[in-house]
Amino acid sequence: MKTSEFIVRRIILLIPVMIGVTVFTFSIAQIIPADPAAILCGERCGLVDPVTGKTMLELQRERLGLDEPVVEQFRLYLVNLAEGDWGDSTTYNRPTSEVVRDAAPVTLEMALFALLMAYPIGITLGILSAVWQDQVFDHISRFLAIAFVSLPIFWLAMMLQLIFGTGPDVGGICDPIFGTEGGCLPIYGRHDTALTYPDRTSSLCDTAISGIACYPSWYPSGGTGFHLVDSWFVTDEALANIHPDYSSNSKLFNDTLVHLVLPSFTLGIASAGSLLRYMRASLLEVMNEDYVRTARAKGLSESRVILVHACRNALVPILTILGFSIGGAIGGAVLTESIFAFYGMGNVAVDAIINLDYSVLMGVTLITAIIFLMSNLIVDILYGVVDPRVRLE
Amino acid sequence: MSEESSPLIEIRNARKWFPIKAGMFSPVTAHVRAVDGVDLDIQRGETVGIVGESGCGKTTLGRLIMGLIPRTEGTIQFEGVDIYSMKRKELRRRLQIVFQDPGGSMNPRMSVRSIIAEPLIVNGLADGAELTKKVADLLTIVGLKPNHMTRFPHEFSGGQKQRIALARALSLDPDFILLDEPTSALDVSVQAQVLNLLDSIQKERGLTFIFITHSLNVVNHISDRVAVMYLGKIVEIAKTDELFANPAHPYTHALLSAIPQPTVEDKKKERIVLSGDVPSPANPPTGCSFHTRCPIAVEGKCDVVEPELNVVLGGHKVACHFPVEAGGSLPMVDD
């Protein structure tokens, strides 16, 4: 099977799953005990429209298509989704698609950075654990692997804030070591609270108001939402306006980076734990293979045998859990985003539940499903490229 | 008299094709023709050996006879009644099977008593104290001790396990037992014991056996008649002595020549090594299925016309356009 054909097949297989997810989100919206029409018209629901003779509530229901049969509503929902109309958020008073568009990069950036931290930790510990099998280090790291997945991450987040983000009077450890004051890592927000970040939500980038273009003309106006990327493209003009301390792109980047460390570490720790286990098991299995024995018999050094011959093959199955790690990190974001004051999908989802904002809830569920399926698709394709045997199935 | 002459089992044109398809909604792309038109009669009280290479469909044929898998085509009759329309309990009671892997054919979580008693329980034939007595009797018949019944399969050796499997097959007092390579997983010395046990039980109870195996020595030892299978078809069937003395099909020739000869001074038998691999049963060759490997195949005949299972000399039935005559030998091929 050719790679292109393989990819196309995988994408086709996703279609029924996506339809299933929309059925699910639609059913949630049906059961949810909130009348979106009543929320939208609010106090004016009882008013009668002089032209049609109907109340505002009735008009809203008509507008939202709530008076149609369920099947028709579902069809409308699908059509609207396809056209990019994801409904209106009742809490944010904005279209849901915009809410989701602003929130998704926040979570995604955090999750990806989390994996960037988790993978080296997990894989290194896994390799060492396999090399020193049944020795003290192995026992300790196996314990760590289980401990990592057992920690409640919302608690871990706060403990890390305590340790790295506070002074020694409260329990922080940084100050005596690094000579900082009040901790060495920021514990809230995506950037220094003193600066207004040049993104969609700030009026700084609204050229009509400020007259400043925050990004080059070829760049998406208001940035991509991924601050790690955006920070490199902010124009000097905009930089001059955000804060005197952040006069260069690299300073802005560094600020974003340090703000990501704690949230991402929190999210990544569970992935690191499971990675460690998988890596250890996978490497132990590979080390029993004939080609590793052959490599040893050839007289290669042990480190070369392990790093070049064994690890390369042991890493292939590790790819599969990459997709799941992303899903896990997004799920974990629900619990940690409010602690770190990140306004990503997790926070939006929790707000949506508390305010019964069904349209946002559907949107977030849908977008996480899309992200999750896409990352799995990419992993599948990578797997197919790395290990051609998979394509033969 | 008519009872005598009508066979116990009558197989006509039995076929079992397994469909090959990629997914639920994909069309069937091909079929594996595991059993592809087999005719066979089994007489009461005889032992028929079925030999062939692995993958030739002999095990599938066995499952078909037992009614364990649905057939694709053909009829299989037991005492003149189609087995697929027989009452299921009746079928199970009268036809029994002993599997190749004695360990794997027993649930590791059940005691020997439960294993042997299961047929009696599911068919509602015995219960309570009576059941224990029956199990004890069966264990004695197969040469084990009644107190073995509280043990578990993993506590027994391969030969003992096969005896337990035999006891299970005997528990319903069947007329017919299908032995699916019952000895191939055993040591040679244990093989002999089990074969002798089978022999004595058959004589005692007047049982009918089909003995599926790939071992020609075993088949020579136990069978009255032998059927040779190749790619889902029977290519030759004859009385055991007759087949071993005068193989008519080139494939049988090749098989027999592969038996190691214990004596040196005997007429020096050339070993026939077949060239090529067994063709895929999903895509069998046209004409005679053996022609791709046959040393005497004739182009324009063997690869076009499918030979029928015809009677040749000495009661042999052979499916070959050019059967080897009695005493004859195959021309050797030079590689």
Binding site: T25, L151, T365 | -
Partner: protein
């Protein structure tokens, strides 16, 4: 027929039960031998045992009732607590802080009050207080925290538990309330497990003055209950669906697996969130009474499938081929939807006229015998049915001489069906209340079950597919064992081992997820003794009062770690590589 006639059968049944017990003992011994090789696993087991013991004896270990708050003590008119936050092992922890309302004392014309313990909970769930013996009288302050001379309040010389309040203070109408701070010495107030000299608050107290340690102790009950309930329900649902999927295969399998794909496409926590939202309007989980017939109807469909097939798919019944599951499913669904409607009317009609206990018993009996009768009337069964020996067999099934015979799955099912029918038939609203108080804790549990079953379904499906191909299953088929027996006697007993591991790990995972949902405000009610909620309540005082977050979180981590280590150890035990 006398009792003695059955002695042989009884002995046989006894032997069989003993045999099974012996096998179980052997399995356990072998498992323990492997299990104890790992120090971590043993540590995990000890952790799980310790947390279970703590939750069982929480009443005895706890210092005070976790739900104690100002509302609870309202009826104890003469005593009140000043809510006071205290750090672990702090000086404030060691003294009693008792608030006395002088206004109330004046009204009751009393010049003194008893030294009283925090509110405790009695066997019958009522609240009570112990009278404390005061050893050292420390301070008296008024409502605004200003010190009052110690002379104005003094201990009764004969009774170390009674404070007298000087007339000067009683007559001073500007003082409405005073706070007494004292040390006390009571045998029953001192807990044997606490360090010498400390009687309360080793984990500190929260801003309402509630002892955090007690709250965490009681919280273990909530978390363990949620963990076990969710894991058990998930295992049951997952096993049923997964084994159907694996055993029948084909299109049923495809459909079920595609459904699980959808579940796997959304991260579990987000799925649970959405589901909790959808459940928000539901106050009690009840299903219409008519649905009680569902299991019975399903039972009916299975044996009747040969009849169904001969009607809908003529010509196919002469083969032993597997019944087309899709057709079966379609017919089954129609029956499930239509039959209850008809039966519903009958039920109502019957019970309007005679709603007595006898009648209900009789009706239960009738319903079960009708279904039992229908079971035996299956067309394939009648085809194979011989009148000969029928009475004997019928008697055999009712053999009263051998009590061990009744210890079968079938008997148990009939027994439970009887109980359920009998109890449900009592309901006036024509609905079966499954969960009476469907509070938020229940909602997250249901949500977690809902998101968790696909994992088990896939796991058990894989196991069933694997075991199904083993020769002993074919051997069982070849002796005529029915599907149910093959499933329950042959496949499931050999397939459940990885399930046990997953179950144990899932308890830990559930505790984590449930506390997470509580943390974001979806689970436990505010102020409840639930670990996630405690962490979230502590957030308001974080990081200054770190203990309010630290200890509940440690409790979650400890419990989850215990179950995860236990599961990891069990994985070694059930690993086929470690057999024998």
């Amino acid at each position: 027929m006398s009792w003695e006639d059955g002695s042989e059968d009884r002995a046989e049944s006894r032997r069989r039960i003993l045999e099974r017990a012996a096998q179980a003992k052997y399995d356990l011994q072998r498992g323990w031998k492997i299990y104890r090789r790992s120090l971590l696993a043993v540590a995990g087991l000890l952790m799980v045992i310790s947390i279970s013991v703590v939750s069982i004896f929480a009443d005895d270990i706890a210092v005070e009732h976790p739900g104690r708050n100002l509302q609870d003590t309202r009826d104890v008119w003469h005593i009140d607590y000043e809510p006071r936050k205290a750090a672990p092992f702090s000086e404030e922890c060691d003294t009693r802080n008792q608030k006395v309302s002088l206004t109330t004392l004046r009204r009751w014309d009393a010049n003194g009050t008893n030294a009283l313990s925090p509110v405790k909970i009695a066997e019958d769930n009522s609240f009570y207080e112990d009278i404390l013996v005061v050893t050292e009288f420390k301070e008296v302050v008024d409502r605004n925290g200003n010190s009052i001379s110690l002379d104005l309040v003094y201990l009764d010389p004969t009774n170390n538990s009674y404070f007298w309040i000087a007339d000067e203070l009683m007559e001073n109408n500007s003082v409405t309330q005073i706070k007494l701070i004292y040390k006390f010495e009571n045998e029953e107030m001192h807990h044997w497990w606490m360090p010498e000299g400390y009687d309360v608050c080793i984990f500190g107290t929260n801003d309402e003055g509630q002892d955090l340690f007690s709250k965490i102790l009681y919280g273990s009950r909530v978390s363990l209950t949620i963990g076990f309930t969710v894991a058990t329900l998930t295992v049951i649902i997952g096993t049923i669906i997964g084994s159907i999927s694996g055993y029948f295969g084909g299109r049923v399998d495809e459909v079920i697996m595609r459904i699980t794909d959808i579940f796997f496409a959304v991260p579990g926590l987000i799925l649970a969130l959405a589901f909790v939202a959808a459940l928000q309007a539901i106050d009690n989980l009840a299903i219409p009474l008519a649905l009680a017939f569902l299991p019975l109807i399903l039972m009916l469909i299975v044996p009747f499938r040969s009849a169904i097939i001969s009607v809908f798919m003529p010509g196919s019944e002469d083969t032993l081929s597997r019944i087309e599951p899709a057709a079966l499913l379609a017919v089954g669904l129609v029956a499930v939807l239509l039959l209850p409607l008809g039966l519903y009317g009958i039920w109502e009609g019957l019970f309007e006229t005679s709603d007595t206990r006898t009648w209900r018993l009789f009706f239960t009996f009738i319903v079960i015998s009708v279904f039992a009768g229908l079971l035996t009337l299956d067309s394939r069964m009648t085809k194979n049915f011989s009148i000969e020996g029928f009475s004997e067999r019928a008697l055999n099934t009712l053999n009263w001489k051998n009590p061990y015979r009744y210890l079968t799955l079938r008997t148990a099912i009939i027994f439970f069906a009887a109980i359920i029918l009998f109890s449900w038939s009592d309901d006036a609203d024509n609905q079966i209340v499954i969960i009476d108080n469907f509070d938020r804790l229940w909602k997250i549990q249901i949500a977690l079950v809902f998101t968790g079953w696909p994992g088990y379904a896939r796991l058990i499906r894989g196991q069933v597919l694997y075991v199904k191909e083993m020769t002993f299953v074919e051997a069982a088929k070849s002796v005529g064992a029915p599907s149910g027996r093959i499933m329950f006697r042959h496949i499931l007993p050999n397939a459940w081992a990885p399930l046990l591991v997953a179950f144990t790990l899932d308890i830990g995972g559930t505790i984590l997820s449930a506390s997470g949902l509580s943390f974001i405000g979806l689970g436990a009610e505010p102020g409840a003794a639930e670990w996630g909620k405690l962490v979230s309540d502590g957030r308001a005082h974080f990081p200054q009062d770190y203990w309010l977050v630290l200890f509940p979180g440690l409790a979650i981590a400890y419990t989850t770690l215990g179950f995860n280590l236990l599961g990891d150890g069990l994985r070694d035990v059930v690993d086929p590589k470690n057999r024998r």
